[in-house]
Subunit: 351 residues, 2 copies
């Protein structure tokens, strides 16, 4: 089956681009002795997770329990980090069940979370590892003293194992904050076998924080418009695209494609030149200026030869993770050949 | 089963709010003699579509063929308008099949689209109705002369039935443009039994365009943040919400909930007070200032008593249509009681 046989909009993944990114990033982390623990929330797909494990990943990262359950069921959940505060009886019961089946580490930033985790470990009968999140703008504890106090609480809870710290994101300038917490841990005699950094934009500078033992990255494997603009990924390395068809040319400067926010997600990218929703590979002068659910709006006024109705184009999304969540399938391609159609196994697993 | 038994994040739909909106809007259109043809892309759910049909809808609107197939299979596709340029052999074949099973009207704004539709009608052996879209900023023809030329082309194609015109959106100031096209149609002897307006923001002023014979609206039935701010829907009338739990309180002014862009969609609402992603029903002073995929960021600094960790809140999304597309189920509630769990039957049908 050929790419030309595929109806639009369809989510496609170029395997050469994917494999090149895996070589590149896994090579970097191997070189620097930092464990790469891919975040599966980007692709949500067992086929990609297994490829990442074959490249030497130390385990996987899942943002939600449901993703971990899917990955474990599919043979990719041998060592799972869930960098999330797990709250509520229903989830704690599922976490306890997960911990009976595989090695699990979760994040915590409050006494509330830690007490729930302790209860789950004791009633579940299996140890649960915990890393303390250091606040870098989203969740996390705000001071080294608070991290130590929470670490001591974790140590006091039978069934919980304090495994260290994590932060999100971890650009190099975060290092002093992590060092301060680690020094306080050392003074208090608290263990920190895991020091986990994260985010693709900070991936290739991870070696500037030598304290990191492992790293969580998701988008590195497929890129996206933000990475293209940042220069970490070329167009060819932005391996995840949405195949679309031009369905209307109402004015000389306007082209409408059959993929909108339901095919790309509603994510926007903004810079000095304005806001856009994707990069059109075949028409780099086109601007993907906006979208409704099923219509993508291209400004093609700068294109030397704007695309006529019926033209098929590949669009690199702003943000691959939510884009994938809109789709049930990923069509894996090599050049113009379709290699496989993979289910998005963990789509919609937000609990 | 009670709402309290539901894990988070979950998409919930308050049936009293839904039914109140159906009464209100269907009553308005009945009063003004305009047919309401609900756009099922908002809820994507047969249960809601059947409720809308019971309220006297003249048929349904589907943005994509796949949605129409799902609605027809579920008994709600007796008369379908697809206000979309259907392009490409795969879709035209499906359209022809649909036309053999039910009454179908589609939009066109180009000779390219019309010739494809004609071919489909002839090879499919069933008539396909066509309305010409008048450009109001997205797709559509740009002049009355172009509309007439396209109408004549449609008339010349065996198997196609010219059924009139449509536009999107149709606030009152669009009226002169429609009148101009209709006058040109009359002069050319072209029929226009359908004059279709659309969009919920323009719904309650539809009577100011007496030429309209029918109206497409989707969000009217559940509201959303934009409608709340516009004043067409109260908080109670914003019937679709995402139930979330506060999972972190890293600082006094910051609360993090377990629903982000994967629960709400990445849609933003912007006004003079800034950008936000939802309205927190129980904490109206909170601002839903941003989100990553699984984390919603609330600024709770203005709340007299900010929500502690573990608090469950209902969040009205900015835009219900893409929000629904993130979920597999809609939990129908009455007050605190769960009445049903409905599949989002047409989720992901973007082809």
């Amino acid at each position: 089956m050929q790419l030309d046989d595929l109806d639009t909009p369809s989510l496609i993944l170029d395997l050469d681009g994917l494999d090149g990114n895996l070589d590149r990033y896994h090579g970097y982390f191997r070189q620097h002795g930092i464990g790469l623990r891919p975040h599966i929330k980007t692709h949500k797909c067992l086929a990609v997770a297994h490829r990442q494990l074959q490249c030497g990943s130390i385990g996987i990262t899942c943002q939600k329990l449901g993703e971990a359950e899917v990955m474990l069921a599919g043979g990719a959940g041998g060592d799972v980090l869930i960098p999330y505060n797990i709250v509520g009886a229903a989830k704690l019961s599922r976490l306890a069940a997960l911990a009976r089946q595989t090695r699990v580490t979760v994040a915590a930033d409050s006494e509330f979370t830690v007490r729930g985790l302790g209860q789950a470990a004791r009633t579940g009968g299996a140890p649960i590892g915990v890393v303390i999140e250091v606040d870098c703008g989203r969740t996390g504890v705000g001071s080294a003293a608070a991290a130590v106090a929470l670490g001591q609480l974790i140590q006091s809870q039978p069934g919980l194992e304090l495994r260290g710290i994590m932060a999100m994101p971890t650009p190099p300038d975060i290092r002093p904050r992590l060092q301060e917490v680690l020094a306080a841990f050392d003074r208090a005699g608290l263990p920190h076998p895991i020091v986990s950094g994260g985010s693709t934009p900070a991936a290739l500078t991870a070696h500037e924080i030598p304290e990191l033992t492992e790293f969580r990255a998701g988008e590195y494997c497929v890129g996206g418009l933000a990475h293209l603009r940042r220069g970490t990924h070329t167009v060819a390395q932005c391996a995840l695209r949405v195949l679309m068809t031009v369905v209307s040319r109402p004015t000389p400067g306007r082209a409408i494609v059959d993929g909108g926010s339901k095919a790309l997600s509603a994510s926007l990218y903004s810079d000095a030149s304005g806001t856009c929703m994707g990069h059109v590979v075949e028409y780099p002068e086109a601007r993907f200026v906006g979208a409704s659910e099923e219509h993508g709006h291209l400004d093609v006024s700068a294109c030397p030869e704007p695309p006529p109705i019926g033209t098929r184009v590949q669009v690199i999304p702003v943000h691959p993770c939510p884009c994938v969540n809109e789709h049930d399938e990923i069509v894996a391609i090599k050049g113009s050949r379709i290699e496989a159609i993979w289910p998005v196994h963990a789509r919609g697993c937000s609990r």
